[in-house]
């Protein structure tokens, strides 16, 4: 068998920008998929030697161990401020943040909005899985009405806890962002579209156009208490009704 492999053409391989370190994500989680798409994008754009990964607090806190590029861990919610500091003193670097819904749209609301409003030339990857994953399934700012979480055991009640925040639409009201989009990963078509969106967001930064945000609707099989297949159906049938997919701002 080994003799035959010499004649084979390699059509798929681990992205060069990924290390051999094992992901710490649960089985069936979309986080790994997004990580892989970002790594492929960095490879394709040839920016590994300029890329700076800004890790949040959450399930992706050790993200810098998986990317073969410089990385930094930011305090909870502060990733956009940290990215701002890096980018302003060295504009040649390609700086991206990777943040969950609690990090970006709850504790880091101010940093996230103002970085967008200043039009910082950074790329923000926003992982919206409608729950706090790492801390064990508490309600997120994006949790759907009626969705159960450990801190809203009877389901999210709008009168007590408000409504799911549509962050992408919020910052779409600002003048500065050049590319704001919402994507999902529940089937192959969506994965391809999300890959194109992530590539476009990085491309905007490489070309010096300014701020971009890719919100990605993802799953959390562990804390949603669903199988990975069930999470894909839930995303396709329920979540996208609250969080519509597609480009919201495209000035790129």
């Amino acid at each position: 068998m080994s003799a035959n492999t010499d004649n084979m053409v390699k059509v798929f391989e681990r992205p060069r920008c990924l290390t051999d370190a094992q992901f710490s994500y649960c089985p069936g989680c979309h986080h790994g998929l997004v990580t892989q798409i970002i790594a492929h994008t960095i490879d394709e754009l040839g920016i590994q030697e300029r890329a700076i990964a800004v890790a949040p607090v959450g399930c992706s806190v050790t993200m810098y161990e998986w990317f073969r590029c410089d990385g930094i861990q930011a305090a909870h919610g502060r990733a956009c401020a940290v990215a701002t500091g890096i980018k302003r003193v060295n504009p040649d670097l390609i700086v991206f943040t990777y943040q969950g819904d609690g990090d970006l749209a709850a504790i880091g609301t101010a940093e996230s909005i103002h970085a967008a409003n200043r039009g910082e030339n950074i790329t923000v990857i926003f992982i919206n899985n409608q729950i706090y994953g790492m801390t064990g399934g508490q309600m997120a700012p994006t949790t759907l009405i009626g969705q159960r979480a450990t801190s809203c055991p009877d389901g999210r009640n709008a009168q007590l806890a408000g409504y799911p925040i549509r962050f992408a639409e919020m910052i779409a009201q600002l003048e500065a962002p050049v590319y704001v989009t919402r994507q999902a990963l529940y089937d192959q078509k969506r994965i391809m579209a999300a890959s194109r969106a992530i590539r476009k967001a990085f491309q905007c930064q490489v070309e010096g156009k300014g701020y971009s945000l890719v919100e990605i609707l993802t799953n959390c099989p562990t804390n949603w208490r669903m199988s990975p297949v069930e999470t894909n159906s839930h995303l396709m049938n329920e979540v996208v009704r609250v969080f519509p997919l597609g480009d919201i701002v495209d000035r790129g």
């Binding site: 806190v61 050790t62 930094i72 861990q73 401020a81 940290v82 701002t84 302003r88 060295n90």
Partner: protein, 339 residues
């Protein structure tokens, strides 16, 4: 202080308006672009200190400034700077507190600055200037110490220094490109392994080792970087210990006391951390009384008492709420304590 930072090679400043330190923010807004540095008026104190975290990680000399309530907000970021071994200079133009307090000069932030206002086992070098000239000298020193030991350094000044005008001689500006390289900085993994800046270590054994290494760095600082100024202490029978604005006022008290035949000396701690315990311990065996004077309810006095023990009397005199003691006020307290 802002121009001193530029002279020291600072090329990134992030701040937020708060009285009585708006002058630094406003000066940097005009000055930083002229030296091709980064300036942002941030959306909050929290954002400003985290911008510092990013800019410092990218290898640039970085500063922020604020006043007491704003410094409280920065404490999260200061803990992260310490935990990720990042240099940064933070100026606190301290005002009356707690809470919103007022905008008058005060020294109620000593505990916060020197005992770890943020979470976790960390230390921050804290420098206390008494005059504008000292502030300039200490800002230059702060950037050097921050880089040398990879620690945050705070200039603990007060509203008096922040609003004062006096003539000074500025130091020779340093060319930032002439500063020692920072091989740990995030500059892009070109021809080297990726660099990582983090304060995170999930394995207790790892965090134990990292913290122990950091503590040994702190011990080196305690051995090498203690700074203080003694005035008329050689024949003194009573000594005032004061830092910052109060030390400056007490210099006048020393002259007044000496003219009245009272052998008064003054010790001005310049590094509030590391505190000059050893110097005070030595003095305490030669004098009867060591009087601590602060614009607080008594914070530094705890360090003075740690140093002195029961070798001398250690009374305290403090003014609260932004009131500034006069040389006569301090002399009155000195006389009360002269037996």
């Amino acid at each position: 202080m802002a121009e001193a930072a530029i002279c020291a090679g600072c090329r990134a400043y992030f701040g937020y308006p708060i009285t009585p330190q708006n002058e630094i923010l406003e000066y940097m807004a005009a000055r930083m672009p002229a030296v091709s540095g980064a300036f942002i008026q941030a959306e909050s104190e929290v954002a400003a200190i985290n911008m510092c975290y990013g800019a410092s990680a990218a290898g640039v000399r970085t500063m922020t400034s604020s006043s007491s309530p704003g410094i409280s907000l920065k404490m999260e970021g200061i803990s992260y700077l310490a935990g990720a071994d990042l240099p940064c200079v933070i100026i606190n133009v301290a005002r009356g507190g707690p809470g919103l307090g007022n905008i008058a000069p005060a020294q109620g932030d000593y505990f916060q600055a020197t005992k770890g206002g943020g979470h976790g086992d960390y230390r921050m070098i804290v420098l206390g200037p008494a005059t504008i000239a000292e502030a300039i000298e200490l800002v230059m020193l702060a950037f050097d110490l921050a880089d040398k030991y990879r620690v945050p350094v705070m200039i603990l000044s007060d509203g008096m220094l922040g609003q004062m005008m006096e003539p000074v001689v500025l130091p020779e500006p340093i060319d930032p490109t002439s500063l020692p390289a920072k091989p740990w900085a995030l500059t892009g993994a070109r021809g080297r392994h990726p660099n990582v800046v983090t304060s995170y270590a999930i394995d207790p054994a790892d965090l134990n080792r990292i913290n122990a290494q950091r503590q040994s760095r702190y011990h080196r600082i305690e051995k090498k970087e203690v700074r203080y100024r003694e005035t008329e202490t050689s024949d003194a029978t009573i000594i005032v210990v004061a830092y910052g604005t109060v030390a400056r006022i007490a210099r006048t008290t020393v002259k007044m006391a000496r003219s009245q035949g009272i052998k008064l000396g003054l010790v001005q701690p310049i590094t509030l951390w590391p505190f000059p315990y050893a110097a005070l311990r030595v003095l305490s065996s030669r004098v009867n009384t060591i009087l601590t004077v602060e614009m607080s309810a008594g914070q530094m006095v705890e360090d003075v008492r740690l140093a002195v023990g029961d070798r001398a009397e250690t009374p305290f005199y403090g003014e609260l709420g932004g009131l500034v003691p006069t040389p006569k006020d301090i002399l009155r307290e000195v006389k009360r304590n002269v037996s």
